[in-house]
Amino acid sequence: MLVGSYGLSQIDVDDIAKFQGQEGATVASTLGHELSEQQEKQLGKLGNDNAGYTKAHAVGTATENAIIGATRVDGPPTFKTDFLNRVNGSQNTNYNYPNGKNVTVTVNVVKNNITSVSSKVQNPSPVKKKP
């Protein structure tokens, strides 16, 4: 399981703890994502299929966005799976703030467990005042 499992209705709190002190994706936003995703699945009686996941995941992402005050934009998928289907590699996710700030969060994963998370902040370039 990586952060959470939609099908198993489980959350990996060790993975979530790795977001401590980050910008963009935080402990609160990832936990909020997983909780609201499961709420949508279980109360909405959604199936364990792509359609159900897509609907619940969208609700989870909306919650995440509301908590951090930014818009999550997923980067191209770069994770790989090994012969036991465990996820390995790193994945970038962008968070765009209304003031133009952009945060790229890089999540490094080894055998389905997050080993580290880093954030790269790009602040908007200052507007030059006309003399």
Binding site: M1, L2, V3, G4, S5, Y6, G7, L8, T30, H33, E34, N48, D49, N50, Y53, T54, H57, D74, P77, F79, K80, T81, D82, F83, L84, N85, V87, Q91, T93, V107
Partner: protein
């Protein structure tokens, strides 16, 4: 008369061998098509899982449906924080095992 009997014998032998061959060829062709289709979808899913396990394209779904239908073994999809994985590497191994057992 002797020539007529000989010609008749040759015709009967030729016809029965032709009939036999066409039947065998029919079966082999059917199996070949099944094996070729299986390997086509298997290769497709193998390259998908190596490139992007979060692939939910129509091509991927079509191949999963084929595998589930032919082998009667269901895929085990799941979603996480980053996306939906429509099948696992173990599913692919199980489908290939089924194929190896049923097409020795």
């Amino acid at each position: 008369m002797k020539m007529l009997v000989s010609a008749l014998c040759i015709f009967v032998v030729s016809y029965s061998s032709m009939f036999g061959c066409s039947n065998d060829t029919g079966n082999q062709t059917g199996n070949s098509i099944l094996i070729d289709s299986f390997m086509y979808h298997y290769s497709k899913l193998d390259s998908i899982i190596n490139a992007n396990p979060y692939d939910t394209s129509g091509v991927c779904n079509h191949s999963i449906q084929y595998m589930e239908r032919v082998t009667n073994l269901k895929a085990h999809p799941d979603g996480n924080f980053f996306g939906w994985m429509p099948f696992t590497r173990q599913d692919l191994i199980a489908w290939k095992d089924w194929h190896d057992k049923n097409n020795p």
